[in-house]
Symmetry: C2
Subunit: 150 residues, 2 copies
C-alpha cells in the first residue's frame, strides 16, 4: 500500500469520524431540546447518576470548576439538583432531585432510541465496533493541551 493511499485513507477516516462526531452531538442537542434543558445541563444530568461533588463533576465534564457554579445554579433553579453538604464543610455534593432523575432517564431512553450505531449495526457488529473504539481511544497520542483546564 502506497503512502499516498494511506494519506487519502487517513483523510477519509478523519472526515468520517468528524461527521459522525457532529452527528452524535447534533442528536444529543436535539434530545436536550426535546426534554427542554440546555445541552450542558443534559450532559451533566447524564453524569450525575450518583451524587458528586462540584469538583468531581468538573472532572467528569472535563471543564473548569468555575464553570460548574453557574451550571449548578441553573440546575437548582430548574429543580433538577440540590446542593447538599459533603464530608467537608467546603465540599458540596450535587444530588439529583426526583425531577432530575426523571429527566435523566428520559434522556437516556431517547439516546438509546435514536442511537445510530444501534440502528445501523447488528449485535455482533456492535461488539466489534465497540472494541475498536476502545482501542482507538487507548491508542490516542498524548494531547498536550495548551488550555490546561485546571
Amino acid at each position: 500500500m502506497s503512502s499516498a493511499h494511506i494519506l487519502a485513507e487517513a483523510r477519509r477516516l478523519s472526515q468520517l469520524m468528524l461527521e459522525t462526531a457532529d452527528l452524535s452531538k447534533d442528536l444529543f442537542a436535539e434530545i436536550a431540546h426535546e426534554v427542554a434543558v440546555p445541552v450542558p445541563i443534559a450532559r451533566a444530568l447524564c453524569l450525575l447518576e450518583n451524587s458528586a461533588s462540584m469538583t468531581e463533576l468538573a472532572g467528569m465534564l472535563a471543564c473548569d470548576k468555575s464553570y460548574i457554579t453557574p451550571l449548578a445554579d441553573q440546575m437548582e433553579t430548574l429543580g433538577l439538583v440540590q446542593r447538599v453538604s459533603g464530608p467537608d464543610r467546603r465540599t458540596k455534593l450535587l444530588q439529583l432531585t426526583d425531577a432530575g432523575n426523571t429527566k435523566r432517564e428520559q434522556i437516556g431512553d431517547k439516546v438509546t432510541q435514536v442511537n445510530p450505531i444501534i440502528l445501523a449495526l447488528n449485535p455482533d457488529e456492535r461488539a466489534t465496533f465497540e472494541a475498536m473504539l476502545v482501542r482507538i481511544l487507548a491508542t490516542s497520542p498524548q494531547i498536550q493541551t495548551d488550555k490546561p483546564k485546571r
Copy 2:
C-alpha cells in the same frame, strides 16, 4: 438480549462515540495550533482544495453565510486566501494562495500522522471500521434542527 442490556450498551456506545469525537476535535485543535491558525480557519483550509464561493463554503462548514465574511477577512489578512470575482458580479470565490495551500498540506499531513484510527487498527480492520461509519452516517435519523442555520 434484554432491553436493559441494550440500554446499557447504547449508553456505552454513545459515551465512547462522544469521547472519540472529543478526541478527534482535540487532536485537530492541537494541529491547528501547531500550524498557528485558529481552528475555524484550519477547517476552512481543509475544505478549500478547489476554490469555492462564500456561500458554498458556508454549506461545507454547515454554518451561516454571515459567519464566512469575518472568517474570509481573517484568512485574507493572514494571506491564506484571496477573494476573486466569480461568474456573477455578486459572487466572490475564495481561492487559496500558495501560503494557504502550503498550510493546507501541512494540516493534512499532520492529521494523517496522529490519526488514532490509523495508529490503532490494521488495514483490514480499518476497512471494516470505515464501512461501519458509512453505514452509521447513512442510517442517521433526520435531524430536525431548531436552528435552521440558513
